[in-house]
C-alpha cells in the first residue's frame, strides 16, 4: 500500500517515530501529482523545490531533536486564494495572474509556523465564485472518481487533490458551501468552521460576512488536526473570535453520549435524488444504532436560503471587488489602446452631432477601470458584480439587500430554535452526486440552486461538516452534512468521527 493511502494522523505518527521522513512523503506526493494531475488538474502550481527544501529542513530538525511544529513534515495544498508572501496568488483570475502579495495570510503563516510542507496551490472557481471549478480562468479540474464530472467548487482543486491521493491535507474556503460541497462530491471530509473561528486576514475577500477558511482531508480526525493548526483569534481580523481553541485532536475520538440528531423535514423535499436520500437516511440509522436519539426539526426559512444568499453574497462581492481598478495591483488594460478607443468614439459622436453622447462619454480614468475589469474578470464574476451592484443601487436596496438581511436573521433563528432540541442536524450536502462538466455552464440559476443545502450555514454563521456516507450506483461519492451551533466544532467533529468509526466510506479511494 502506498503511503499516500494513509491518513494525515497516521503519517504524522510515522514521521514522529522516524519510520518515514518528510522528504520521502513529499516525494511520494510529488510523484503522485506528476502521475495523475495531467488528468485531474487539481493544482495550478506545484512548488517542488520549496516543498522539498521545507521537508528537508523539518527532517533535519527532527533528527537533531529540535522542537518542530504541530504539522511538521505533512504536505498541505492551499487554495489559490490565500496570500503567500512573494508567491503567486491568483484566485484563478486573469486579474491576479501575476499578483505576488507582499504579506502572508494568517492561515499560511500558521501553516508555516506549524512546519507544514506547502506543496502547491489548488485550482478554484475565479474569486471562489462557483460550484464546479469551471469558472477558473486557467484550467478545468476533474473529479478523480469520474473524469467526465466536476469535483464541485469553488474549492474543487483542494478537494480533488486530496481525493486523488496527491496530498493528505488541503485548505479550502467556504462562502456558500465551497468546502463542503466539493468534499461531498469528491468523497472526502470538508469542514466550514464557525464564522470568525479562523482568521480571514490575507484571504482574498469574496463576501466578507460569509467567507470562512477550513480543512479538507480523508478523515474527520485529520480535519481536526488541520483545524487546530489554523484556528484562533487574530488581531489583524476584527471579525475573528477571541475564544480559546479547544484541542480538537485530543477529544475527536471520544464518542458523544446522549447525542441528539435533528433531521429537518425540509431537507427531504422534492428534488432530492433517491440514492442520496437513501444514503443519508441510512447514515441516520447508523447514528441510531450508536445510541443517538433522532428527532425531526423544522428549518422553515431554509427554502429562502439561496435567494437570500444570491442577494447578500453578490452585494458584498460587488463592493469587495471594487478594489480591482487597474491602479493599485493586478491587471491593467493597455493604456494606448484604451485612449485610442475613446478618441475614436468621441470623433464618431462629434461627426454625428451627438453632443449628449460626447458629454456622457467615459473619462479616460473611468474607461481605464471599465476596460481593465472587462478584460480581467470572467463571466461569472461579472455576473455577480452586476447582480450585487443592482441589489445595492438606489431604488432596489430596500427590496433586495435590506430584505435579504432580514430573512437572514429568520434563517438564523430557525437554527437557534432547532438547536434548543438537538445537538447536531444531519442531512444531505447536495441534492445529487457530482454532475457532468459543462452540464450547467449555460444556466447560472440552476448552478446557484445546487447550493440549497449549504448556504444556510454561512448565512447563520454556524459550523458545518461534510463526510462521505455512501456511493451512487455508478460509483460516485455521496456526502452527509452535519451542522452544529456556533463554536461547537468540538462536538461536530466528535459526532462526525462516531459515524466514521462505525463505517468504511472514508476508506474508499477514487479509482485513478
Amino acid at each position: 500500500m502506498s503511503i499516500l493511502q494513509r491518513t494525515a494522523c497516521e503519517l504524522l505518527r510515522s514521521l514522529e517515530a522516524g519510520e518515514i521522513s518528510s522528504v520521502e512523503l513529499t516525494t511520494a506526493c510529488l510523484e503522485r501529482i506528476s502521475a495523475t494531475d495531467d488528468r485531474v488538474g487539481a493544482f495550478l502550481r506545484v512548488d517542488e523545490k520549496r516543498a522539498l527544501a521545507q521537508a528537508a529542513a523539518v527532517d533535519a530538525r527532527r533528527a537533531k531533536k529540535q522542537p518542530v511544529g504541530r504539522l511538521a513534515g505533512l504536505p498541505v495544498a492551499v487554495k489559490d486564494v490565500l496570500c503567500d508572501r512573494g508567491q503567486l496568488t491568483t484566485c484563478a483570475s486573469r486579474m491576479l495572474a501575476d499578483f505576488r502579495p507582499p504579506y502572508d495570510s494568517t492561515v499560511v503563516a500558521k501553516l508555516k509556523a506549524a512546519d507544514a510542507v506547502l506543496l502547491g496551490r489548488t485550482n478554484m472557481d475565479e474569486f471562489a465564485m462557483g460550484g464546479s471549478t469551471e469558472n477558473s480562468a486557467f484550467q478545468v479540474t476533474r473529479n478523480p472518481w469520474d473524469l467526465e464530472r466536476t469535483p464541485g467548487g469553488s474549492s474543487g482543486g483542494s478537494a480533488a487533490s486530496v481525493a486523488a491521493g496527491m496530498v493528505p491535507l488541503s485548505i479550502g474556503t467556504d462562502t456558500g458551501g465551497s468546502i463542503r460541497q466539493p468534499a461531498g462530491l469528491c468523497g472526502i471530509v470538508g469542514m466550514k468552521p464557525t464564522y470568525g473561528r479562523v482568521s480571514r486576514y490575507g484571504l482574498v475577500a469574496f463576501a466578507s460576512s460569509l467567507d470562512q477558511i477550513g480543512p479538507m482531508a480523508h478523515t474527520v480526525e485529520d480535519a481536526a488536526l488541520l483545524l487546530e493548526a489554523i484556528a484562533g483569534h487574530d488581531p489583524n481580523d476584527s471579525t475573528s473570535l477571541d475564544e480559546p481553541v479547544p484541542a480538537y485532536t485530543a477529544t475527536v475520538n471520544q464518542p458523544l453520549t446522549g447525542l441528539r440528531i435533528g433531521i429537518a423535514k425540509e431537507h427531504f423535499a422534492e428534488g432530492l435524488d433517491a440514492e442520496v436520500e437513501q444514503a443519508v437516511r441510512a447514515a441516520v440509522k447508523v447514528y441510531e444504532s450508536l445510541g443517538a436519539k433522532v428527532q425531526e426539526v423544522s428549518l422553515p426559512h431554509g427554502k429562502h436560503g439561496v435567494a437570500t444568499y444570491y442577494v447578500i453574497a453578490p452585494s458584498e462581492a460587488s463592493s469587495n471587488l471594487a478594489r480591482y481598478d487597474g491602479a493599485h495591483y493586478g491587471y491593467r488594460t493597455n493604456e494606448q489602446e484604451m485612449l485610442a478607443e475613446l478618441a475614436g468614439e468621441r470623433k464618431k459622436l462629434q461627426a454625428a452631432g451627438d453632443q449628449r453622447g460626447v458629454n456622457e462619454l467615459d473619462t479616460a480614468l473611468v474607461r481605464m477601470y471599465r476596460r481593465t475589469r472587462a478584460e480581467g474578470f470572467g463571466p461569472e464574476v461579472k455576473r455577480r458584480i452586476m447582480l450585487g451592484t443592482y441589489s445595492l443601487s438606489a431604488g432596489y436596496y430596500d427590496a433586495y439587500y435590506l430584505k435579504a438581511l432580514k430573512v437572514r436573521r429568520l434563517i438564523r433563528q430557525d437554527f437557534d430554535r432547532a438547536f434548543e432540541q438537538v445537538d447536531l442536524i444531519a442531512g444531505p450536502i447536495t441534492a445529487s452526486p457530482a454532475f457532468k462538466l459543462g452540464e450547467m455552464t449555460d444556466d447560472p440559476l440552476a448552478m446557484y440552486l445546487v447550493d440549497l443545502y449549504t448556504v444556510s450555514a454561512n448565512l447563520a454563521g454556524i459550523p458545518g461538516l461534510c463526510l462521505p456516507c455512501g456511493q451512487s450506483e455508478c460509483g460516485l461519492p455521496i456526502g452527509l452534512q452535519l451542522q452544529a451551533p456556533i463554536l461547537q466544532e468540538e462536538s461536530l467533529l466528535r459526532g462526525a468521527r462516531m459515524f466514521e468509526q462505525a463505517t468504511d466510506w472514508h476508506k474508499q479511494r477514487a479509482p485513478l
Partner: protein
C-alpha cells in the same frame, strides 16, 4: 421585475464594467432570470425583524492606539501595474 437593457447599461457603469453588445444581451436575460427568482423574498413576512448584516454580531472591536509598522511604500508600489517612486500612476484626470 423586468430588467431593461438600459438598466443593465446603467448598472455596468456603476460597477465600472465595460460590456460588449453580446454581453449586454446575455446579462439582461440572466439578471432578469436571477432577479425573478430572488423576488420570492418579497413573500416572506419580515415585519419587525432586525436586519442581520453579520453572522456573528460584534461591536466596537478596538486595538490599542499605538504606532505600528505598516507596509513599506516600495513594497506596496511593487504590486502596481504602473507607478513611479512616490505613487500609483493613472490616466490624466484633469485638463483634457
Amino acid at each position: 421585475m423586468a430588467i431593461t437593457r438600459q438598466d443593465v447599461e446603467k448598472v455596468a457603469l456603476l460597477a465600472r464594467l465595460q460590456l460588449s453588445d453580446a454581453e449586454l444581451a446575455t446579462m439582461s436575460d440572466q439578471l432578469a432570470q436571477i432577479v425573478g427568482y430572488v423576488d420570492h423574498l418579497a413573500q416572506v413576512d419580515t415585519e419587525g425583524v432586525e436586519p442581520m448584516a453579520h453572522a456573528i454580531e460584534q461591536l466596537n472591536v478596538f486595538r490599542a492606539d499605538a504606532v505600528d509598522m505598516s507596509l513599506p511604500r516600495e513594497e506596496a508600489l511593487a504590486c502596481a501595474p504602473h507607478h513611479d517612486a512616490r505613487g500609483y500612476l493613472v490616466p490624466a484626470v484633469l485638463g483634457e
